[in-house]
Structure formats: C-alpha cells, structure tokens
C-alpha cells in the first residue's frame, strides 16, 4: 500500500457505498467505516517514522504542460490525513445511527466517502493544479452534502450559497496558482518544478520579491479565506448548518473548513515572510475571531452556536499563521488538533441531543444528564477541553497560543482579542456542553432518551483522546506536531516542541485563569450581554450576497425574456437571418457574382424531380390542412432522396428516405393533438418570411454551385479508396469512414444523439410536480 492507493480506496469506496448499504442495511456503517479506519491505521504507521523529506509518489499526467500527478506526505499532510480519516471513520459510524432506517443513507455514505477522498487529495497533492482539482471536489461534495435534504428550499439555498462562495474562491485560487507557476519559472525552476510545492521548498525559492506577488497574494487569500470562512465570507458556514449533523461535524468543523488554513500553512514557505502576508493574515484572522465569537454568544441553536465558534477558531488559526514564527506555527498545529477533537465531539453531541431530546434550542434544554448519562459525560469532557481547562489537550494548545501572542507584533491588541475570544469559547463550552445536561429538569428532559451506542461512541472516543493527549502530550509532540510545524516553515530538521501541561508560574497561566474566570462571569451575564451586542450583528456581508444574487437572477430573467421569445418561428427566423447576414454577406463581398448555371447538363429523368420539388414546396405553403402540408413536405424530402440516388450516394439516400418516413409518422402521431390550423401571421409578416426563405434558398444554391466549381483536393478520397479494403476489410467507404477511419467523430455524434434523446425524454416525461418551484 502506498499513499496513492490510500487516496484511491476512498473513491472506490464511494462507488461501492450504495451497494454495500443495500446489502448490509443497518450494519453498513460499520462495514464502510473499515475504509477510513484502514486509511487511518496506514497513516499511523508513519508516526515517528516519517522521513524528513517526506514520502512522494508521482504519476504521469499531462507531460506537455509539465504536469505530474504528484503526491507527497510530510508532517503537515500527516496531521491532516489522520484528522480526515479518523474523523471520517467516526462520522460514518455515527451517520448509521443518526439516520437509522433512512433510505437515503446509501447516498450519504457515498457522499461522505467522496468528500473524504477529495479532502485527502487536497492535503496529499504536491502539484498545484491537483490541489485545485481536489479543492473544487471538496466544494462540490460539500454542496451535495449541505443540500442532502434537497426537497427543503432552505437546504438548497444554503448549499448554493456555500458553493458560490467557496467555488468562486476556488477560481481565484486557480488564477493565483497559474501566476505562481509563472513566478517559479522566472526564478529558474523547470515547468514541472514550478507547479510543485516541494520543488519550491527544496530550491529555497520564494515569490516574495516578484512583481506579481501582490496579485498572487490577493488571489490565494481569496481562495483560502472563502474556504475557511474568514470575515467577510464567514456567513456561509452558519448557513451550512442546514446539512445533517454528521456532515456539519465532519466538513464544517473538523476538516473542510480547515482546508483554507492548510493551504496558508502549505504556502507559507512560498508566500510568507512578507509584511503584506503577515498583516493581511493577522488582520483577517483577528477580525474573524472576534466577529465569530460575538455571533456565537447571540445564537440559540446548538449547531449555530458551534458554527460561529468554529468561525472564530478558524480566525484564530489564520492569526497564528500570520504571526509566522516557529512557535506560532507549532501553536497553530496544536490548536488544529485540539479543535478538531473537541469541536467534532461537540457537533456530534449536538446531533445526539437533537436526536434524544427533539430540540437544539439551548433555552429549552437543561437537566438531560439523567436521561442521557453517557452523552452528558462526553459533552462535559469536550466542553472542558474547549474551555481550555487542564488537564485537557485544549489547555496546552491555549497556553502556547497565549505565549505566542505575547511575543508577536501588536502584542497588546492581539492578546486582548485572544483573551476576549477565549472567554467566549468558555461561554460557548458552557452553553453547549454543560448547560443542556445539568441544572433543573426541563420539559425537554422529561421525554429524552439516551441515543444508540453507535451515536455516542464517536463523541466519547474524541473526548477521551482530548483528555489523553493532555496527560501524555509527548505522544503527539515529536511524532506528529513537530514534523507538521517544520513542514509549515519549510525546514527539514524536526525539533521537539516540549508540550507540557505545566510551564511554571508565568503570564500565560495567569491569562488562562483570567479567561476561565471571565468566561464563567460572562456565562452568567450572557443574556444581557448578547442583547447589548445585538445591534452590532446585523446581517452585514450576508446581505451583500443576498442582494447580488437577487440582482443577478433578475438580470438573467430580463435577458432571457428579451432573447428567448419561446416561439419556434422566431428562433428559426433568427437563425436564418443570421445565416443571411454572415454567410450571404461574406459571399457577396468576396464574389460579387452568382455562379453560372450554364455548364450543368440535366438529364430528362432528373428534370422531372427538379420540377416536382418547387411544386411540392408551393403545395406545402398553400395547403389547406396540416395533413396535406405534411404529405407535400414528404414529397419534397423523398425527391431530395431520389437526387441522392441519381448521383450515386445510396447510403445518404437511404438515410434520407428513413428520416423522412419517421418524420411523417411522427407528424401523423401528434397531428391529432394540435389545435386546428389558422392563419396567425399578417400579410406583411408573410412577405418578410417569404423574403427570408427565398434569400436563404438562393444563398444555399449559390454555395452548392460554388463548391462544385472549385477544384477539390482528392488526396483524402484517394487515401480512403486505397486503404479501405486492405486495412479496414470493407468495401463501403462511407461506412468504413464512419466506423473506422473517423470513428471518434461517430462516437461524438451518437453521444450527442443520446443526450438529445435524454433531453426530449426528461422534458416530456419527467415533469416536476406542480408545486416544485415554490
């Protein structure tokens, strides 16, 4: 097994998931969780044994563009792969219990596994374009997962919002990557190397000096900030809470939203170390951290509270990467791990509470511990980790963060923001992890019940790991967090971080105690405090999104109504008028004369046809009934087929005959359903139509005559004649061209035919129910 197989197995499991579900039903969660669990176990074997330069594997891709599909596992990737696969196994088991008995579970498993594989692709890819492709795949799977309940308009709108924002950011990212590769080439890297992050790092090249740096920075930050819900793009994340809870826990807290943070960390050696980088990350990070915290305290729904606090935590991570020192990178890595453990657990618990007590409103929930004892204990452990209480791992991460903030630039401002946000984390922890379970016996608690064990096992596992890592931090120090930190900084030599619960009596410890005390005080005063903040929290950027989307739709509506009349006759008229304008005009300018008709010699039997066709055309136009018109039109078609016969094109003639027959049959079939024939166009309109028709006819005649006059290059024809029998074993050149010489064209044509048939079928047969659009 290598990292390529690990990546591929996720996509393979996606394809199999619906079938596994239909066979194993209730046990499918366990069966499918084996895949992420195996990937997790595989990546665990690299703990402590990961070579300093990482493990690489590459496949040929588009060599002409210098593209290799290259994957590389280093410390940073290892941290993320473990989070993605470990959390993936837990979430799949959890989903089996959370949506037990739901027929759509097969689809959910497939989408979750597809997301997992895409996310592994993001963190394992070394090639920039591959990162982009997997990045967009995570956006698409996220779209499908948020809109999982696709019959609810709110879920669809939230899914679209997330897709537009993260997908738009992804496009900016692609542009940024393209520019970045240009800079790499200018700095002396080869075309292949310029597109691979590891090549930049080992060559020690940075884009900081390039004149394109500003543009690259803006584009890359747009990608990362939209994905990681940084202010002002933060509003899509609470919206994404429309997704089923397993999805929120997996994508929107533990993994996908950290993709932006991952990207910033990954590109730090290439783009970091400039004041522009430092200040934009610190500015966006601090703002997001404060805005998220402020919004979290005002929400009432468990999941929305957690979503806002996740936004805040993502801001904190971006701030840490902006600070840029070695210890800041270490703090970021430790906090990514701590946050995934406690926030993942709390999201799963929010789902369990929803399941067990029937509501997620914090005002209605209290005293659940009697009914849901196991969930209550897991919730308490996760909440204590979030509140950064020792001996949980969350405390260690918080301590390093304070230490970093005290030493960095603008220390006073940063540390006070950090303490404020952390105090609100304490409030959130109390609101989500303790409030619902303890206190007085509520209405909701009276009919609550403990959730099934595949639902509680995940949160219990995550909370226990959070506690264990607090007690034995050296377990993840040198094997995991230290290599990750070095990968962020682009240095090969890992050094231990010396994570510990106890650092002696110092300022960070005092700040931690102050945060805890402040948080508890704020929890008691949270209602008046939230009321005081309310005026500050108007929808803001979300409004801009709503207005732009509404305006855009209005514009599209206007344009459609202007361009699309909905009448076939006007479309035909447009097409033919354009034909006259483009082809006719060009021909007139170039040639000035109409090709001569004199040197064409016409046989008697042909002449009959040439007389018949105009007569049948005239009959079609003047026909008193539709049936007569159809028959007359059929005469025209068959006459054209006869011309093909005269000029030695039997295949073409046969096809023309058959198409003509089927068209007539089809007309006869639908004939009865049409309203009775009426004259609907006025006399001037008919004159106009006649003018267009005659002009088109003349131009086509002219073009045909012109083509026959020109001497043709016979090389190709001769090639086909010479090679048809010896190489293709066929004497009918037309057919040999269709199935052999130019079979790829035929494949394209039948694909179009299939699409057209599917289009007709779905337009006619698969009409949505009447109230679908509402």
């Amino acid at each position: 097994m290598d990292i390529g197989v690990a990546l591929l197995s996720g996509f393979l499991a996606t394809a199999l998931a619906p079938f596994v579900f239909s066979v194993m039903r209730g046990a499918a969660g366990w069966g499918l969780a084996v895949v992420p669990a195996a990937i997790f176990a595989y990546f665990c074997t690299y703990l402590g044994s990961l070579p300093a330069e990482g493990v690489s594997v590459a496949f040929p891709w588009a060599a002409d563009f210098g593209l290799r599909l290259s994957f590389r596992l280093d410390g940073l990737s290892l941290l993320f792969t473990l989070l993605i696969s470990g959390m993936g196994a837990i979430v799949i088991v959890y989903a089996g219990g959370y949506l037990a008995g739901d027929e759509r579970l097969g689809r959910l498993y497939a989408l979750l596994l597809a997301f997992m594989a895409s996310m592994l692709g993001v963190v394992l890819s070394d090639n920039l374009i591959a990162i982009f492709v997997f990045w967009e795949l995570t956006s698409i799977t996220s779209y499908l997962l948020i809109g999982f309940d696709h019959e609810r308009p709110a879920a669809r709108a939230a899914a679209l919002q997330a897709l537009i924002i993260t997908g738009g950011g992804g496009l900016a990212l692609l542009a940024g990557f393209v520019l970045l590769a240009q800079v790499g080439i200018a700095a002396g890297l080869s075309l292949t190397e310029a597109q691979e992050v590891s090549a930049w790092v080992s060559a020690g090249v940075s884009a900081g000096e390039s004149p394109l740096y500003g543009a690259i920075l803006v584009l890359v930050l747009l990608g990362a900030f939209t994905k990681s819900a940084q202010f002002p793009f933060h509003f899509w994340l609470p919206g994404a809470m429309e997704a089923p809870t397993p999805v929120s826990a997996y994508l929107h807290s533990a993994t996908m939203v950290k993709a932006g943070v991952y990207l910033l960390a990954r590109l730090t050696p290439l783009l970091g170390d400039t004041p522009a980088w430092q200040w934009s990350l610190m500015g966006a990070g601090t703002t997001t951290m404060l805005v998220g915290a402020m919004l979290a305290i005002q929400a009432r729904d468990l999941k929305i509270i957690l979503a806002h606090s996740t936004v805040s935590a993502l801001g904190l991570l971006v701030l840490l990467l902006g600070l840029g020192s070695e210890i800041a990178a270490a703090a970021a890595m430790a906090f990514i791990l701590a946050h995934a453990l406690y926030k993942g657990a709390l999201f799963l618990i929010a789902g369990a509470v929803d399941h067990g007590a029937g509501t997620r409103d914090v005002d209605k929930l209290s005293g659940l511990w009697r009914a849901m004892p196991i969930t209550a204990i897991a919730a308490a452990a996760a909440a204590l980790a979030m509140a950064a209480v020792p001996p949980f791992f969350g405390f260690i991460a918080k301590e390093i963060f304070y230490g970093v903030a005290l030493e960095g630039p603008a220390a006073t401002f940063i540390i006070s923001s950090a303490v404020a946000a952390s105090a609100i984390f304490v409030v959130v922890a109390l609101m989500v992890g303790l409030g619902p379970f303890w206190g007085k016996y509520s209405q909701a608690a009276s009919h609550a019940h403990e959730v099934s064990w595949n639902v509680w096992v995940g949160p219990v596992a995550l909370a226990s790991v959070g506690l264990m890592l607090g007690l034995v931090p050296w377990f993840v120090d040198e094997p995991l967090l230290s290599p990750a930190t070095q990968a962020v900084l682009g240095r090969p030599e890992p050094t231990a971080l010396h994570l510990a619960l106890w650092h002696g009596w110092n300022l960070p410890l005092a700040l931690s105690l102050a945060t805890l005390a402040g948080g508890i005080a704020l929890y008691c005063l949270r209602r008046p405090f939230a009321a005081a903040l309310a005026p500050l929290s108007a929808k803001g950027p979300a409004n801009i999104y709503d207005y732009s989307l509404a305006g855009f739709l209005k514009f599209a509506d206007l344009l459609t109504h202007t361009v699309q009349s909905g009448y076939l006759r006007y479309y035909l008229m447009t097409v033919f008028a354009a034909f006259i304008g483009l082809i006719g005009f060009t021909a007139f300018i170039r040639e000035q004369t109409f090709p001569s008709l004199s040197d064409i010699d016409i046989q008697v039997h042909e002449a009959g046809i040439y007389v018949l066709i105009p007569l049948a055309c005239w009959a079609t136009i003047r026909a008193p009934s539709r049936l007569a018109a159809i028959v007359a039109l059929g005469v025209v078609g068959y006459s054209v087929a006869l011309i093909f016969v005269f000029f030695g094109a039997p295949d073409l003639a046969m096809t023309q005959f058959l198409v003509e027959t089927l068209t007539v049959v089809l007309f006869v079939f639908v004939f009865y359903r049409l309203p009775t024939q009426q004259r609907i166009s006025s006399f001037p309109a008919r004159v106009r139509d006649a003018a267009i028709a005659v002009t088109v006819g003349c131009i086509v005649t002219g073009l045909v005559l012109f083509t026959t006059e020109t001497s043709r290059n016979r090389e190709l024809t001769e090639y086909y004649v010479a090679h048809s029998v010896p190489e293709a074993h066929g004497r009918n050149i037309v057919n040999v061209i269709l199935v052999d010489f130019r079979a790829l064209d035929t494949l394209g044509e039948i694909t179009v035919l299939v699409l057209a048939a599917v289009g007709v079928y779905s337009l006619i047969k698969l009409r949505p129910p009447e109230d679908f659009s509402k």
Partner: protein, 139 residues
C-alpha cells in the same frame, strides 16, 4: 377506429423489417447499409407497430425500454473505443478475426470490432428514435 388491414399487414411486416434492419447492419461494411440506417429501419418497424396498435403494445413487443437501448449502445461503442488502451494500443484500434463469412447479399463479412462498434451505433439510433417517438406520442 378499426385498423384491421393495417394491423394484419403490420404483423407480417414487422419480422421482415426487423430482419432487414439487421441485414443492413451487417452488410454496411461492404455495401450500402450500416448501423445508422439499420437502426432507423428498426425504429420505423416499431413506430409502424405503434401506429397500428398503440404505444404500450409496441413497447411490450420491444420488451426493453428505449433508454436502456440508448445506454447499452453508447456503452458498447465506448468499450470498443477504449478496449485497445488495455493492450497499450491507441484508442479505436480495430481488430479482425480470421473468419470471413461469404454471405449472400452481404459480401465477405469480416468479423471484428468495427461490426461491434456499428452495433453500438445501431442501438443508439434505435433507442434514440424510439425514445423520442414514444414519449412524444404518449404525451
């Protein structure tokens, strides 16, 4: 409305038309014919049946849904297209067996992948025509 003459005639025409459509498919490589024309003949046989009886009856005779034929045809053509890749040959490299059947009206038929590809075209054309005709008529 009684359509006795049309219905009786259709019963005799149907097998002839279907045989003819397969005949055209097979002779296409040497003489006028091929998957496209054969598919159209096949479609017109079923359209005739639908005209004489009704669409559900024609559908029952066909046994397979038009859109299944569509998909099957495209898959056959795609398999023929991509299979050579497995032997490291360029896409659409055709192969022939040693068999050459000397058939009346068809010529020396070289059995090989082009015929299979043409079968894919045949199925797509048959499926597409019938899908469009049947759904328009049923509406």
């Amino acid at each position: 409305m009684s359509r006795l003459i049309l219905q009786t005639a259709t019963r005799f025409m149907m097998p002839l038309l279907l045989l003819f459509s397969i005949f055209l498919l097979m002779r296409g490589h040497n003489l006028p014919g091929g998957g496209f024309i054969g598919g159209l003949i096949g479609a017109s046989a079923f359209a005739l049946y639908a005209l004489a009886y009704d669409v559900p009856t024609a559908q029952r005779i066909l046994r397979i849904d038009g859109h299944v034929l569509l998909a099957a045809g495209l898959i056959v053509a795609l398999v023929v297209t991509c299979a050579p890749l497995a032997w490291d040959l360029p896409m659409l490299t055709h192969r022939y067996s040693w068999i050459e059947l000397p058939l009346v009206g068809i010529g020396d038929l070289a059995l090989g992948t082009p015929l299979l590809f043409d079968l894919g075209v045949y199925l797509v054309v048959l499926g597409a025509s019938l899908t469009i005709i049947f759904s328009l008529v049923e509406e």
